[in-house]
């Protein structure tokens, strides 16, 4: 019985430790974000037919993803290096600017969800704004590494 308790606590502990890996967490969120943007990108480029419900799903997915993106929890001091992070030191030097960039992105995603696009042309505007937010943040707060 005692062994079982220990085993469970060990498991629980490693589980907690795994979810306490902010670099892995933020990378997973970014990956998911990219996949969703990719789905929308295909529609905008005309590679995939416009489906209002599917587009709204993707936008809602982006909204949920952005709301989970807690910069304090995901970019704590001490997570500047390691595990193939491409986060730029600028994130910790200019927290306010980084948060503002993330907030602008969340606002643009929310706006897109609030007025669901009825056709591909209506999607182009909000999609362009979102794509631009990606670039604006990556311009300053990400470093490409080999």
């Amino acid at each position: 019985m005692r062994k079982l308790v220990i085993a469970i606590s060990v498991l629980a502990f490693t589980g907690a430790a795994a979810s306490a890996d902010p670099i892995a967490d933020r990378q997973a969120l970014m990956k998911e974000r990219g996949k969703l943007v990719g789905t929308l990108s295909k529609v905008v480029k005309g590679e995939q037919a416009f489906d209002a419900a599917a587009v709204l799903d993707a936008l809602k997915g982006l909204e949920a993803n952005a709301e989970k993106f807690d910069t304090e929890a995901l970019f704590p001091v001490g997570s500047e290096q390691g595990s193939d992070t491409t986060a730029a030191p600028k994130i910790w030097e200019d927290k306010a600017g980084f948060n503002a960039a993330e907030d602008k992105y969340l606002a643009d995603v929310k706006a897109a969800v609030a007025t669901p696009p009825a056709d591909v042309d209506a999607l182009k505007g909000p999609f362009g704004a979102i794509a631009k937010d990606c670039g604006a943040c990556h311009q300053t707060y990400r470093i490409k590494k080999g």
Binding site: G34, K35, V37, G38, S41, V44, K45, Q81, G82, S83, D84, A88, G128, A131, K132, C134, G135, A136, H138, Q139, R142, I143, K144, K145, G146
Partner: protein, 315 residues
Amino acid sequence: MGRAGKLLGAVVILGAAAAVVGWFLSAPVRLDADTIAKLGAGDAAKGKRIFFAGGCASCHAGAKAEGDARFELAGGVELKTAFGTFVAPNISQDTRDGIGAWSMEDFANAMLKGVSPSGEHLYPAFPYASYARMKPSDVADLYAFMKTLPAVSGKAPGHQLPFPFNIRRGIGLWKLAYLDDRPVIDLPADAPEAVVAGRYLVEGPGHCGECHTPRDFAGGPKKTEWLAGAVAAEGDGIVPNITSGEGGIGDWSAEDIASYLENGLTPDFDSVGGAMVEVQKNMAELPPEDRAAIAAYLKAIPPHPNGYPPRKPQR
């Protein structure tokens, strides 16, 4: 005179001769009359495309300028490199602080030969080593377009460069080694039109090689690793390999490249980042056939493995 005296004399004479030769070799060279004659009148409407192809605003407009602010070319953007800090000058139409008083010939000499109106060498942080490959008529069109842009007063601060890089005359020797108006990549005579057009855009006005090609000890591009990616001039990151070699973009289709230049999204669902954000904004302003030409060229050039060292393992 003793033997040591003779030797010393010879060294002094040789040294003086080298200095004289070096002085002549390093003299600024302006455009010849032939090229000046090819400039023509310049067409401002066509020059707008060249303005974006050349990425002028990326360095000469304020950092992160949007909309019409990208036409306010007051300079001031800093480029912190291993050679020192370069500061982009004011190239607005202000006659005192900018280049409003420059003639078309002055402008062409700066763009194609890296020589200022007063006859000084310009630093190759201004990418004339690429612009040298531009057609004189495109330079003239760009000049005409820039004449339509606003004058913005205020001089940008000077470069902050340590010795010996603060001696402009030395750039003359650098130019002998690296300033060349011939294309980097030889293409077969029957190369598709788009590839040839793309070569012009990439190697000339687009000056892609300035960041994407690794540099040798003297800061010249290693043409044997053309566009293979490089350690970034600024900061501690890298600039990606854009050939089809290992680590490059061989798995991107020509459409993927063109689309990335238009909307900033990579085929693996990532987005444009770093200094490329400003570049991509400019590329988005080009006509679609220009982006397609750039893509066609990048698919046609020799593949190379990454031009930067592999990443050191972390922790």
